[in-house]
Subunit: 106 residues, 2 copies
């Protein structure tokens, strides 16, 4: 279990799955939407998510061809626990920031 | 939100919170229990979890003194979404491994 947890429990993977949960995205949309992710990390994380069967890619015959990423049915099952974690982060953000302030001033 | 998500959405933090959710642990217990974590990473992750107010440490006056880590009340609130993510990982482990096999053989 810890093995899968290691792979899925990665902030970039989680942010990408949540984004793709809203709608399919093209590569550049994802790169713009995830603050601080390098192109190398985005490419690598998308490839891992594809290998894990959580994300799929479709090539559209535009000129130049464009690649669109979306969640697979398996990927969609991850949305529920991930959204619960995201909700937790929003709900407790103030408390965590207060703890930070106490530590840095303490 | 992504900021907190970045911090909490880290595999070492998640594994440690789940372990500490079962019972308090001493440093060496944690180091043995989390496969593959270096002492440097364990120290750094525990310090971040303390700064975030999720983990607390108690020094026991044994000889030599021993340090015990446990979850704070705020840390305990993280157990529910994390356990849901861990349950998801266990439930879908086979499907992910199959996807892997398809990719590596494909």
């Amino acid at each position: 279990m810890t093995d899968i947890f290691r792979r899925v429990g990665d902030k970039w993977s989680m942010l990408l799955v949540i984004l793709l949960g809203a709608r399919p995205h093209r590569y550049n949309d994802l790169h713009r939407a995830v603050e601080g992710i390098s192109q190398r990390m985005l490419t690598r994380t998308l490839r891992t998510l594809e290998t894990d069967g959580l994300v799929q890619r479709a090539v559209h015959p535009t000129v130049p061809p464009s690649v669109e990423y979306s969640l697979t049915p398996l990927g969609r099952t991850l949305l529920e626990p991930l959204s619960a974690l995201a909700d937790w982060a929003v709900l407790h953000e103030a408390e965590i920031n207060e703890a930070h302030a106490r530590h840095t001033s303490g």
